[in-house]
């Protein structure tokens, strides 16, 4: 992308970026621990991925390649405007192919293709605090984390089990990171939770409104919270096939054909789907 030279590289001033990088290092040193940071004003409203954007802007270099996705899609309005903001203030190359990207900023999904050790996935987080529904006060939840006291989160899961027959949440199902901190994985589908466990890549989580950064460094143990007699299950995607690329065993968006009323499936990861179609449906085939 063409860089607009009226702005500092990656929009933020160097001091701010350095400060955010320090918070990121702090977060990497304590997997799953929420590190406060001085969230900056951006030409984008808070709650629109500003936490993720600030992380990306702080770690990106001129030679990096960037991919931005929203709910799996590279083309949504949100993804496009974030890509434009970071792209025009850095001039970096952008891509839709997750294998080509050095940094991927995402909301609500982790790409289908497993990420490598040289890649960073930045996830946008609306609510970083898994204990928020247990207690509204920051000083209380901080103490509960300190003591590893997560009874309240388990009670909420038990309540879900009692009311619905399953303790599993549809999205943002809490995880225990490195056996220590319970963490919101951001509103990714449960389908993506296992991708956090012992991954090769670095995961960074940014919450702009709540001013928190946290991280899952490579090869960290990440377990979804489940009762002993209620094993963790991903959403069942078996027997489904992408109507565009024919992929199976990926996470699908589901919709109804208005004309025929037929139920259809399509890869939620649009970059993955596009790549398969371009390569004749051969990429990442088991």
């Amino acid at each position: 992308m063409e860089r607009n030279l009226n702005y500092n590289f990656a929009f933020l001033d160097e001091g701010s970026k350095r400060e955010i990088r320090r918070s990121i290092l702090h977060a990497i040193a304590i997997p799953g621990y929420q590190v406060p940071f001085g969230s900056r004003e951006l030409p984008i409203g808070r709650g629109w991925g500003t936490g993720g954007i600030q992380i990306t802007m702080s770690v990106i270099g001129p030679d990096d390649t960037l991919k931005v996705i929203d709910q799996g899609s590279d083309d949504s309005v949100n993804a496009v405007s974030i890509r434009k903001l970071i792209g025009t203030t850095t001039g970096v190359k952008t891509t839709t192919d997750s294998a080509e990207a050095d940094i991927i900023q995402s909301r609500h999904r982790i790409p289908e293709e497993p990420l490598r050790a040289d890649q960073v996935l930045v996830l946008q987080v609306p609510q970083p605090e898994p204990l928020r529904s247990v207690d509204p006060h920051e000083e209380v939840t901080r103490r509960l984390h300190g003591d590893g006291e997560y009874t309240g989160i388990w009670v909420n899961l038990f309540e879900r089990y009692l009311q619905t027959g399953s303790a599993l949440r549809g999205a943002d199902h809490p995880v225990l990171t490195d056996g220590r901190y319970v963490m919101n994985p951001s509103p990714i589908p449960r389908y993506d939770n296992p991708k956090l466990d012992h991954a090769e890549c670095l995961y960074l989580f940014g919450a702009g409104r709540e001013k928190k950064i946290y991280a899952v460094p490579p090869y960290t143990k990440v377990e979804s919270l489940t009762f002993d007699d209620q094993p963790f299950r991903r959403e069942d995607m078996s027997g489904r096939k992408c109507r565009l690329c024919g992929a199976e065993n990926v996470y699908f968006d589901e919709f109804f054909d208005a004309a025929t009323g037929e139920r259809m499936f399509q890869c939620s990861d649009s970059g993955f789907c596009k790549k398969r179609r371009e390569k004749g449906g051969n990429c990442h085939e088991e």
Partner: protein, 278 residues
Amino acid sequence: MKNRTPVLEGSHITVRFGDGCPYCREHTELEKGRCPVCRTIWAVRDVSFRLYEGEILGIVGESGSGKSTLLKTLYFDQPATSGDCRIARYHDGQKNIFDTSSQQKRYLRNHLMGMVYQNPILGLRMKISAGANVAEKLIAAGNRNAGSMIGRTEELLQHVEISLDRLRDQPRYFSGGMQQRVQISKATANNPPILFLDEVTTGLDLSVQAKVLDLIRSIQKELGIAMMIVSHDLSVIRMMSDRTMVMLGGRVVEEGLTDQIMEDPMHAYTQTLVNSLL
């Protein structure tokens, strides 16, 4: 009397709200426990007691005499200003439980104690089901098996005569008596040796009151839990407790077998209390 080893022993427990001043440190008998100079409230002042295995210890006293504050302090809802408290089943009574880490305090609360609060809002989360409220104690004690917790929760609720079709209902839709019964289920979920009950029947209809008290009696007989029962109502204390402590202005002014106190009250305040019963 039963076995004479105290399950819980408090010594010189003081809880004050405010910093105190030379005047109130000097004068222990303050009107309503409040210092006229610095306005510090000495809610609990130099209270010592022993709770024996399987007994019911009643605490009676007027409003503001420090009854709730004492129980909340023993249950770690409220820090003690000074004093010492020991539990026989915790390090053989060799450790002051006020001087332990917050994790140790949680362990004690969840395994060795139960609390039924005067105000059910303090004891129950009103917007989750009765079942999950009871299960909270099981979870806090480390249970992670959903099936076994449902079984135990049903058992506990049945025991206090809450029908199982209310398991998934929120306690905010329950009557006062039902809320207290859910609190009792929760407080006894891990079979603790010690149970604190703070004005469990206050505000309930007389007939409901009698039912709840009967229930507490039967649980006490069945499980042999030692109980501290607080009430400003001497008739409740007379009905329930083996021994009684009378509090006034944060201090214990009289203590003894309940029958003895009823027949022959020593302190002037106790005398007025007993006379008002007649």
